[in-house]
């Protein structure tokens, strides 16, 4: 896909036209997001032209749902920068570029990240050496916040620049885990909360109140539980793929992970499909994860319940696997 556009405004217009054609294809939708974001990056570089073009090597990566190629129609921005040399001039340049990118993405329709995971934030915009130190420190500290950062970083996917930097940094985490199983347990402890969606008598538990009354919060009852559980297995097994489906495919190939992974893969694909189908043009970002239960057929409802139960079982599986230390 190439959109050949050179201003944020016309890019936004183009994106808004294109995006609604992609109701049925989550993969194509993410290709579109990639194309838009890469174009934003290109425009941002051009707008930095007052500065000299960077002679340093660098990589710009996406993380969050963008990193996992799991964005819906609307999505906020999560991204960071790694560059080659420790040099004050480079630091100034890349922070400025990061700010330009964040503003550009915002203009095109990706709201700023509330958690400030953006290339304009010095924590997420550093030279490679500093990144290595930082990741080591995060792993040493094992606090709630630093473990969250590790989770976020592990979903990083390269959109522009030197691919190997990210692999190098992810290896640090995987290697540490091989020698220190406690870190994996700590990562698990900070990412295994599930918003319960099935009641004691087997009924679905939609929102009780508010404008989403009667709708199921897919993000916290289904997406995040699957994403988190599968990410933990990926960290454990040193899988650098970022999308949940690709991670599950890799896991399938590893001895000991059985057909359950295949089922999870199909479940997750169904969730992605439902999210696209339930999108309304009036939705804001916070609306896009709610599924109107009444609009589902009885069969779909049963399927949803099964997917949610499988999600819980997957969690149990992850907990057992990590506690045992092996599959």
């Amino acid at each position: 896909m190439n959109c050949g556009i050179n201003s944020y405004q016309s890019l936004k217009k183009w994106k808004d036209e294109q995006i609604l054609n992609l109701r049925l294809d989550a993969y194509a939708l993410n290709e579109l997001h990639d194309c838009v974001m890469k174009t934003v990056f290109k425009i941002a570089l051009e707008r930095m032209n007052g500065e000299k073009l960077p002679s340093w090597k660098f990589v710009w990566f996406l993380t969050g749902s963008g990193g996992r190629m799991e964005q819906g129609f609307l999505s906020d921005q999560d991204h960071g920068l790694v560059y080659e040399t420790e040099d004050p001039e480079a630091a100034t340049y890349f922070l400025k570029l990061g700010k330009e990118i964040a503003d550009g993405l915002e203009t095109v329709g990706y709201p700023y990240c509330e958690g400030n995971v953006m290339s304009s934030n010095p924590i997420w915009c550093q030279p490679l050496g500093k990144w290595k130190e930082q990741i080591s420190d995060w792993m040493k500290e094992e606090s709630w916040q630093t473990l969250r950062n590790l989770h976020i970083f592990y979903d990083s996917r390269v959109l522009a620049g030197e691919k190997e930097y990210i692999g190098e940094l992810k290896s640090l985490i995987h290697n540490r885990i091989k020698n220190n199983s406690n870190l994996l347990s700590r990562l698990m402890e900070t990412s295994m909360h599930i918003k319960n969606a099935i009641g004691p008598v087997g009924q679905l538990l939609p929102e009780e109140k508010g404008t989403h009354q009667g709708e199921l919060d897919l993000k916290y009852t289904a997406f995040i539980p699957y994403v988190n559980a599968v990410r933990l297995l990926a960290i454990k097994e040193g899988i650098f793929e970022t999308s949940t489906i690709a991670r599950l495919e890799k896991l399938q190939d590893i001895k000991g992970y059985d057909a359950g992974m295949d089922r999870c893969k199909n479940n997750f694909a169904t969730l992605l499909k439902w999210r696209l189908l339930s999108y309304k043009q009036t939705d804001t970002y916070n609306d896009t994860h709610f599924l109107q239960i009444k609009s589902l057929t009885k069969r779909e409802r049963n399927e949803l319940k099964r997917i949610l139960k499988d999600g819980k079982n997957l969690h149990q599986f992850v907990i057992r696997t990590i506690e045992k230390g092996a599959v």
Binding site: A197, P200, V201, K209, Q213
Partner: protein, 422 residues
């Protein structure tokens, strides 16, 4: 003066003190269940309206309920009660008066619960006077003052109907006429949670009410004879416990979460329900009555919300729905030994007779309380330029709009304080 007379007087005086202290429970319950900006108002009006209701009860309420020369609606003597001993009493008459006054105070407090967070202070004032003069005394006269329902053998030991249902029906009239609070319902018809500001207050309020209820129910024996008040207290406690347990379980079963406000409502619903039947039923029946009340209150809250009726402190469900169930429950569970008023219930070979009386009592009393309250408020709405504060006042909170000062000044006057301290 004989010892029994003194003991009775002392016991019922203790009951009166406990019942009056229930107002403390209502203050905590209501303030905790609503927002900070209305806290001072809610606490303050509870004291004020009890004071006002006391004067009205002294002037006319007591006479209407218990006076001689009664017509169909009310008795007609003992107005501006002098404190004189009345004939045929086995306890001090002023003690009896204070005890009855306390009940009238609880009834108006329940009714005003339906006004929460949006009614003008002047409406509280007018309604307190008229409810305490012509709504509560009529129902109380019918059932406790020797009126026509008493003659039918209506069983309402401590006032599931007289106090709780009457108060709740007035609250229903008020919520309908006042309309929901700003922000309670969305355009698409869905409801929002307007969270109470302090669940700890609410829970403490429930505990104070629970303890106060021993005065309410056990005190209603009006005597220490045979220590029967202990049995009444036992039944009362069992129903409260069963209500709390049932409500917690049903909220967990249906919503997947053990909801604290629902559980608290369950305890109160158990108490309200057992109020009519506490002296007439066996202990196991108290448990059943409480369990049913706990489940009922959960569904009742959901029912009113679906009907777009905004009941901020759940007065309709806790006092209304449970009041009805409690009154009917004696029609099922009253035992031949304990039914000193009326007949045994359906499950004890009494057939449908007592159940029918209970049903009639609930229906007529409820309708009367609703209709008269509705008329009072509808007229007030016309004459006084509406029942509600303006939208602006509602947003700023009734503490400021009605009283000019905040219950929590440091929270709301932070800017001002900063200016002073800097």
């Amino acid at each position: 003066m004989d010892a029994t007379f003194l003991m009775n007087s002392l016991w019922v005086m203790l009951g009166a003190i406990l019942v009056i202290f229930m107002l403390g429970g209502f203050i905590m319950l209501e303030a905790g269940s609503t927002r900070m900006k209305n806290a001072g108002h809610i606490a303050g009006k509870t004291i004020f309206t009890f004071g006002l209701a006391s004067l009205v009860f002294w002037a006319v309420g007591f006479g209407f309920i218990f006076g001689d020369k009664a017509n169909f609606l009310v008795g007609l003597s003992n107005f501006f009660y002098s404190g004189a001993e009345l004939e045929g009493m086995s306890l001090s008459s002023p003690v009896f008066f204070v005890f009855q006054l306390a009940f009238a105070g609880i009834a108006i407090t329940i009714a005003l619960g339906g006004f929460a967070e949006r009614a003008k202070l002047s409406i509280y004032l007018i309604f307190t006077i008229l409810f305490s003069a012509i709504v509560y005394p009529v129902v109380a006269h019918w059932i406790w003052g020797g009126g026509w329902l008493a003659e039918h053998g209506k069983q309402d030991f401590a006032g599931s109907t007289v106090v709780h249902l009457t108060g709740a029906m007035a609250a229903l009239a008020a919520t309908i006429l006042l309309k929901p609070r700003i922000g309670k319902f969305n355009k698409d018809g869905s409801a929002n949670n307007i969270y109470g500001h302090n669940q700890v207050y609410t829970a403490l309020g429930v505990l104070i009410l629970w303890v106060g209820w021993f005065g309410f129910n056990a005190g209603s024996t009006l005597s220490v004879e045979d220590g029967f008040f202990g049995f009444v207290a036992l039944n009362t406690n069992l129903a409260a416990g069963a209500g709390a347990v049932a409500a917690l379980i049903i909220s967990w079963m249906v919503m997947g979460k053990s909801d604290v406000p629902t559980m608290l409502n369950g305890a109160l619903a158990g108490l309200v329900a057992i109020t009519a039947s506490c002296a007439f039923v066996d202990t196991w029946a108290s448990v059943v009555i409480g369990l049913v009340a706990g489940i009922q209150v959960f569904y009742s809250v959901r029912f009113f919300e679906r009907k777009k009726i905004d009941d901020p402190i759940y007065a309709l469900s806790v006092h209304g729905a449970a009041g009805i169930w409690g009154t009917l429950s004696t029609g099922f569970f009253a035992t031949p030994e304990l039914a000193t008023v009326g007949k045994p219930g359906l499950f004890y070979g009494g057939g449908f007779e007592q159940l029918g009386v209970q049903f009639m009592g609930v229906a007529v009393s409820g309708l009367y309380a609703f209709a008269v309250s509705f008329i009072i408020l509808a007229i007030a709405k016309k004459l006084m330029g509406g029942l509600r504060v303006t939208e602006e006042e509602e947003i700023m909170g009734l503490d400021l709009s009605e009283h000019g000062s905040y219950g929590y000044p440091e929270i709301f006057m932070a800017e001002e304080n900063k200016r002073i301290s800097s």
